[in-house]
């Protein structure tokens, strides 16, 4: 498993559109499971509404972990994605 911490900088937090694009992005990495954790709650990042339901806001720290094939590479791409969108 490969994981990274990220502090949300987007004023609206994890909102619908980028969350949706994230889902699409993850679908490209067949065999990888991406989990987003905030505090004690974790969700599979493929689950759009559950992810939005976590209410992640600007300033929150989330832990993103990747399991599966090419973990290193996928995690780097997902981290890049977070920096761009969140």
């Amino acid at each position: 498993m490969k994981s990274f911490d990220y502090v949300i900088t987007d004023p609206v937090g994890i909102h619908a559109r980028p969350a949706g694009i994230l889902v699409k992005e993850i679908k490209n990495y067949v065999g990888s499971t991406v989990t987003v954790t905030k505090g004690e709650k974790s969700v599979n990042a493929l689950k759009l509404m559950a992810l939005m339901g976590m209410g992640i806001k600007q300033g929150d720290t989330v832990t993103v972990s990747v399991e599966g094939e090419n973990e290193e590479e996928v995690a780097a791409k997902i981290e890049e994605f977070f920096k761009t969108y969140f």
């Binding site: 909102h15 619908a16 969350a19 949706g20 689950k47 759009l48 509404m49 339901g53 209410g55 806001k57």
Partner: protein, 558 residues
């Protein structure tokens, strides 16, 4: 040849097949299903269809208004295929319940999750989940989105259309309207005039269900609709259509010209709109601004209170699309003929005189506050004028203004930008407001006269009642004298006065309005150029004395 005679309320000639408006069935039955696999397949097919529809809507929005506009539909698309959402539905269906009922449950469960979040953006997503779910339910139950399921444009026939129904109509599919009931100021009539297509109302039982699909020629000027037209009638109507096309070409020449009379008297010609998409028609017809944005249509298009964010986006779009031209947004005018389920308004014996418009807003300030916050936030993007409807007393205006001040303070505290130059005005549509307009003028920056209601209340004549025809006389001297009084009081106090009712577009009265000093006429977009032509042909100096003299005289001149 079958001739149907009604009342023409929007001019123009159009020919097309008759199509009866399809109302969606609202009751959802809860049924036990035994073949759960077949039911699951039914859901999957409907889900795929919904995703396809949303994709098409997103593309359409992108082409017309850019990426931002497509966002809503793309979000809906993603929700429709969300894993948790789908799993919850699968669980319900595999438990032996029909898809429609299961989706209703899952819809409410997810909407509740969003509604309970402490963030206004996320709360607003509740409406998205509902919208997506209702779309899938609609597909399953065979209801037609927008009431029209036809590949070709049609002449739409209905008993009458509710405002919420006119909002949802797929306007690209409509060539003209025929309604069995309705009145000249009904929403169908207003919509037809905005779209610039013919409409005939009040045909009663002359139109029969077996006419469905047959070709009809509609003349919205004379109020005649003809089936199986003979060669002569057809030729006559087609000639008329051609003449109208030529007239329109001539009117198009007036685009970019000023609204100024021969003797140099100028007037502003603005437009009435019901939703942000209408701005397109305003600009196409060279409207100088928006004199009435009926904000209640945002509420009518939703099945729950529209959030601050949703309203903000709509107002912002109108203000920025109008590029710095004046935009008058009327605050929520609900009640009377415009009813919305989620407001839970009690039934009233006499709704036109009941709990409506500003009265509701002052009694339920939490609803009003959301709208005012959205308006002030949007004011940073253009030239906003806020207008309160249904005023009868000075205290109402003061109380509403106080709420505006509170909202501004909140925004200041939050560091949210708004324009310092927002004008505040009121509708003059009760005789009371007209009579005390000298006092009201000291409270506001402008007046706009809503002549439909002003006529109804002055003449004690129900505007929805088709049988009152000749008694509902919008040219009644009592109404015109009130307008003059309002204009005089406005000018004495240095504020501007407009007319935003149907009367504003009445070319027979244009010279009267110019003579009594009306500063602005707000009309449906299609009426801008004919009105401009009329203004440019007028000479106020020549007619003012006679027209005002006749109006104020104790003798009837004709």
């Amino acid at each position: 040849m079958i001739t149907i005679q009604g009342k023409g309320v929007s001019a123009g000639v159009a020919a097309g097949p008759i199509y009866f408006y399809q109302r969606a069935k609202s009751e959802i039955q809860r049924i036990a299903v035994t073949d759960v696999d077949a039911e699951w397949t039914r859901f999957k097919n409907a889900q795929a269809k919904a995703i396809e529809q949303l994709g098409a809507l997103a593309e359409k929005a992108r082409a017309e208004a850019g990426d931002e506009a497509a966002l809503l539909f793309e979000t809906h698309q993603m929700m429709a295929e969300d894993l948790d959402y789908e799993e919850s539905i699968e669980e319900g269906i595999k438990g032996g319940t029909n898809a429609e009922a299961v989706i209703t449950d899952v819809r409410d469960q997810f909407a509740e999750m969003f509604a309970q979040m402490d963030d206004s953006y996320m709360q607003a997503r509740a409406a998205d989940v509902k919208d997506v779910s209702n779309r899938i339910i609609g597909i399953l139950s065979g209801a037609v989105q927008g009431g029209i399921d036809s590949d070709v444009p049609v002449i739409l026939v209905a008993d009458d259309l509710a405002p919420s129904e006119t909002v949802q109509l797929d306007k690209s599919k409509i060539l003209g309207f025929i309604t069995e009931g309705g009145s000249g100021s009904s929403h169908t009539a207003i919509l037809a005039r905005t779209m610039g297509i013919p409409a005939i109302i009040g045909v009663g039982d002359q139109i029969k269900s077996e006419y469905a699909g047959r070709e009809v020629i509609v003349d919205g000027g004379t109020g005649v609709a003809v089936l199986e037209a003979d060669a002569e009638t057809r030729a006559h109507l087609m000639r008329k259509q051609e003449e109208q096309r030529k007239l329109q070409e001539m009117l198009d020449q007036l685009k970019g010209k000023e609204n100024v009379t021969k003797d140099g008297h100028s007037i502003r010609i603005y437009c009435n709109i019901g939703n942000p998409e209408d701005v397109h028609n305003v600009l196409k017809n060279d409207g100088g601004g928006i004199g009435l944005f009926r904000s209640e249509f945002l509420y009518l298009g939703c099945d729950d209170f529209p959030s601050e964010e949703f309203q903000f986006e709509a107002y912002k779009k109108v203000l920025s699309d109008m590029g710095g031209k004046e935009v008058v947004i009327r605050t929520l005018d609900i009640g009377a003929d415009k009813q919305i389920g989620y407001f839970n308004l009690p039934n009233e014996e006499n709704p036109a005189m009941g709990n409506r418009a500003l009265r509701i807003c002052l009694n339920r300030p939490e609803i009003f506050r959301t709208q005012l916050r959205a308006l002030y936030r949007a004011s940073a993007y253009g030239k906003l004028c806020i207008m309160f409807p249904m005023v009868a007393s000075v205290w109402e205006v003061r109380e509403a203004k106080k709420l505006c001040e509170q909202v501004k303070k909140e925004l200041d505290a939050e560091g949210v930008a708004y324009s310092p130059d927002v004008q505040i005005g009121i509708m003059i549509e009760t005789p009371a407001a007209a009579v005390i307009s000298d006092r009201l003028a000291k409270e506001v920056d402008f007046f706009s006269c809503g002549t439909n209601d002003l006529t109804q209340y002055t003449l004690a004549c129900d505007r929805q009642n088709n049988d009152l025809g000749r008694f509902f006389d919008a040219h009644h001297p009592a109404v015109l004298r009130l307008l003059k009084m309002v204009a005089d009081n406005a000018h004495k106090n240095g504020i501007w006065v407009g007319i935003c009712g149907e009367l504003g577009a009445d070319l027979q009265l244009t010279e009267t309005f110019l003579s009594i000093g009306i500063d602005e006429l707000s009309v449906s977009p299609r009426a801008v150029l004919p009105l401009r032509q009329k203004v440019r042909e007028s000479n106020v100096a020549q007619v003012r004395e006679r027209l005002v003299g006749d109006l104020m005289s104790d003798q009837i001149s004709i």
